[in-house]
């Protein structure tokens, strides 16, 4: 037999017991040719393009899923940042566009579509200002649309005006979706150094340098890594890093295969594999649990940041070896509400927002699915975003903030969104004011690191 007994059983164990799945196959579609002076024509072009390219997306993904026995959790679509082709439109028009995107998402049977986005790290065009103003309406009046705004980069610095606007947008969106635990904010990401080929919702969009249409894949598998770390037992750091690398290598290879096969069925180019450990609320599918298995008593204990840094780096190294086209965010995600281990650490009082912020300096994303009290002032949210952007800008990495000031909720309460979004415990936020700093507005200049030419 060409394969060892153990090799075959290892694969079966990963897919059947340890929650290894392809987290998402995301179809990127350019909408740059969909603009027209007439809004109705534009809407029709958008709808027709998405439904044409996307009509078999779910069906193809399901066929590949069955053939290889590897589950694909989500089938999604990302489009060109809406502010770019449709820059001439006004706020109300953008809401209309969001609704037509929503309709197209329903038609092709996907749960989320990303790309209601703007890139404003260096300043705003008129259309971008209008789009940002429209976000609270667009996200509260649609079900399936996700939005992201890039407000900072290592090359451009931090656009403090944009951060202040986004803090207001977040507050307004929280109020507009207060009946469902301010769920609108779970569909909105504020970025620094956003990657243009990230397949993971809510931050996905189809970058302007991408081809007409492309298929990107996001892999997952905290459960697989957790079991491998547990099995490695009491070994030293080098051995542990090696164990993580070997495991991540295998799941990346499977991800690349699945991505290629889905792209082949579509007859379109394959883009990238995003080698990420993305947790779910399912038991055992948790980054928090991996950190504990690595040896810290709970997430938040001194040593947590170092453990996460090693985990993140090992995953990246393995991914680079396993795939010729690694992209997106690629690393370990540390969302709070989507990870049982993280939720428990917050509820036990072991993990504070400040420690979480430190952890984001070494993980692949940032403050993700963090619930804070509903009465947190906009200036404080702006301060939190600015801190996160500073980490991303100085370290030349992507950082993001997906923060939910749950309307009417206080510290100690929890809101259960159900599904992959999980249950968000409300975390305490510092009472100290950021107002004097953030209200200065303007821009934090790009760091010396930006001058690499």
């Amino acid at each position: 037999m060409n394969y060892e007994f153990e090799e075959i059983l290892e694969t079966i164990r990963m897919t059947e017991i340890e929650h290894f799945d392809i987290r998402t196959v995301t179809l990127g579609i350019s909408l740059r040719d969909c603009v027209d002076r007439n809004l109705e024509v534009t809407k029709q072009k958008i709808y027709e393009k998405i439904t044409k390219y996307g009509k078999h997306h779910v069906q193809y993904a399901e066929a590949v899923e069955a053939e290889y026995g590897v589950a694909i959790a989500n089938k999604r679509v990302a489009v060109t940042p809406i502010s770019i082709p449709f820059d001439t439109y006004k706020m109300d028009d953008f809401v209309e566009i969001a609704k037509v995107l929503d309709k197209a998402a329903v038609e092709i049977g996907i749960d989320y579509l990303g790309g209601f986005a703007a890139l404003v790290q260096k300043g705003f065009t008129r259309g971008e200002l209008e789009l940002i103003k429209s976000i609270p309406y667009a996200l509260s009046e649609t079900q399936h649309i996700c939005s992201n705004v890039n407000v900072a980069s290592t090359k451009a610095g931090i656009n403090m005006d944009a951060i202040n606007m986004m803090a207001d947008v977040i507050k307004s969106l929280a109020e507009k979706t207060k009946d469902r635990g301010s769920i609108g904010c779970a569909k909105l990401v504020v970025y620094c150094n956003v990657p243009e080929d990230n397949p993971f919702i809510a931050g996905a969009f189809h970058g302007v340098t991408e081809p007409e249409v492309v298929l990107n894949v996001g892999i997952s598998g905290p459960g697989v890594v957790l079991e491998a770390v547990k099995e490695a037992g009491n070994c030293d750091m080098n051995t542990l890093a090696d164990v993580i690398k070997k495991t991540a290598f295998k799941i990346t290879r499977a991800g690349e295969l699945i991505g290629n096969k889905v792209a082949e069925k579509h007859g379109i180019p394959f883009g990238i594999v995003d080698v990420s450990l993305a947790p779910t609320p399912a038991k055992g599918d948790s980054i928090g649990d991996i950190l504990k298995a690595m040896g810290v008593e709970d997430v938040g204990a001194p040593g947590t940041t170092a453990a996460l840094a090693m985990l993140n780096d090992s995953v990246k190294k393995a991914g680079l070896m396993a795939s010729t086209s690694v992209g997106g965010l690629s690393g370990a995600f540390i969302p709070v509400s989507e990870d049982q281990g993280m939720i428990q650490a917050v509820e036990a009082g072991h993990l504070s927002l400040e420690k979480l912020e430190a952890m984001t300096a070494v993980c692949s994303v940032g403050l993700d699915m963090v619930a804070v009290p509903g009465d947190t002032p906009a200036d404080t949210i702006a301060g939190i975003i600015a801190d996160e952007c500073a980490i991303g800008m100085i370290n030349d990495k992507a950082t993001a903030v997906r923060i939910i000031p749950i309307y009417g909720k206080k510290v100690g309460e929890t809101y259960d969104y159900g599904g992959l979004l999980g249950a968000a415990p409300v975390m305490p936020v510092s009472d100290l004011s950021s107002q004097g700093f953030v209200q200065r507005g303007g821009k934090i200049p790009a760091p010396t690191r930006s001058l690499t030419n």
Binding site: E4, F5, T11, V41, H56, A63, E67, G69, L257
Partner: protein
């Protein structure tokens, strides 16, 4: 894809320019019509995209009892599936069996064979998984 007047005008102008002196109303019409048909085209999906081979790995495990392999192989032979390799291990009351099968000569596709195996799996009260060989090759071979 619906094409508006403005775009047709643009195409016409472009056609006239490209044809230069040779432009006649009929010829321009022909060129524009051709471009319009091509414009709306998107890559055709390829649902029957073929695999590199028809080799499938069948894994079965559960509590051992007589007739498991017989049950599985009978159904496989009914679908004209070729068995290329087989190995099994028994540990106490549990058994694990791995088969490499080739379905390229079968009139049925993988999905139909999977459905047949699901029926066998329920009847024999054991687990049966069928996965294309590539997933193992990608994960365990460089």
């Amino acid at each position: 894809m619906r094409i508006n007047e403005e775009e047709i005008r643009k195409l016409t102008l472009q056609a006239i320019e490209e044809l230069g002196d040779k432009a006649t109303p009929d010829l321009v019409k022909q060129v524009v019509e051709k471009s319009v048909t091509n414009l709306g085209k998107i890559p055709e999906g390829n649902d029957s995209a073929d695999f590199s081979s028809g080799r499938i790995i069948l894994t079965s495990f559960g509590i051992n009892h007589p007739g498991i392999i017989a049950g599985i192989t009978t159904s496989l032979s009914e679908h004209s599936v070729d068995i290329r390799d087989l190995s099994q291990k028994i540990l106490g009351e549990f058994y694990t069996m791995i088969m490499i099968i080739d379905i390229s000569n079968s009139p049925n596709d993988l999905r139909e064979i999977q459905e047949a195996m699901n029926a066998v799996s329920e009847k024999l009260k054991v687990k049966i998984y069928l996965q294309h060989e590539d997933v193992f090759r990608y994960m365990h071979r460089i």
